[in-house]
Symmetry: C2
Subunit: 143 residues, 2 copies
DNA sequence: ATTATAATGATAATCATTATCATTTAAGGA
DNA sequence: TCCTTAAATGATAATGATTATCATTATAAT
């Protein structure tokens, strides 16, 4: 006899997802999927790159991490959910967080909301990317 | 007798580049390379998609147009060089310009500069993308 | 222990973009 | 006008990043 029944789709634990998430939570940089994959392979040699992409994508959809569309090169991932903006160096392509004090964040949000109010859109989120030349690249010149 | 001499690399006119640039200058939306290609093919059936990508890339480097890294889907291109920010609808993926009055732009720039001054970076440019739900999608619900 | 199914890893497939290269075209003399 | 030169083109191969497929494994509940 066969019983057919529904089961609600539920997340099932996996060591891989745990590792991916924990790594992004603790790293301070913003690795690409491949950079993260190569790093995690050291701790877990059997991990596959598809698993990394799959979980990064899932974690983004659940809002647990953020995908950054890099101005140059492939997408990067960020486990920092605190209000912040990004700075990308146009020479070394590195992206660093710029943390915002709550008063700074409010000021910027207010400016942006004032601008958006002219339209009839609902604001979900905003992304600010500053682009320029970082300290190191100013000193070393072009590599 | 053969004379060898240098010639400064100089831009040579092409009907294709003219068409691509003029189209982006006048369009108010932000097409992807492929969308633009399909549109231009109607006026110039012999145009190739490589030519579109090539010229979009060149025009970007010369600062005559802007490449927008879309939150969803492939890159988009923008011929509007006036100070403005973008709004992308997370349901229909459309991107629209939000023009800034010079006082609004100044306010935002000042906020961002204040934040950046904590670092030692030089600011070249900034990109602001607002994400949310546009008027149409609020009315029609999810398609 | 059994069962159901979510998740994985290998890899094929896809999508967007860039590189290659033979041919065409624009521009500037002869 | 006719040459010459090199930039630009268009077709298409190649690449890079990401997603889909699918047989197998691992988790969690009974």
């Amino acid at each position: 006899m066969i019983f057919l029944y529904h089961k609600i789709a539920m997340e099932k634990y996996s060591r891989q997802r745990e590792l991916i998430y924990h790594s992004l939570e603790t790293r301070k940089d913003h690795p690409t999927a491949e950079e993260l994959y190569l790093d995690l392979k050291e701790k877990m040699p059997e991990i596959g790159i598809a698993t990394v992409y799959r979980n990064l994508s899932d974690l983004c959809q659940k809002g647990k991490i953020i995908k950054i569309k890099s101005k140059y090169g492939p997408d990067r991932f960020d486990g920092n959910l605190m209000p912040h903006i990004h700075f990308q160096c146009e020479q070394c392509n590195n992206i660093v967080d710029i943390e915002l004090k709550s008063e700074e964040k409010e000021k910027i949000d207010n400016d942006l909301l004032a601008v958006l109010n002219k339209t009839d859109a609902i604001l979900t989120t905003s992304e600010i990317l500053l682009i320029g030349i970082c300290k190191q690249c100013q000193n070393h010149g072009m590599n």
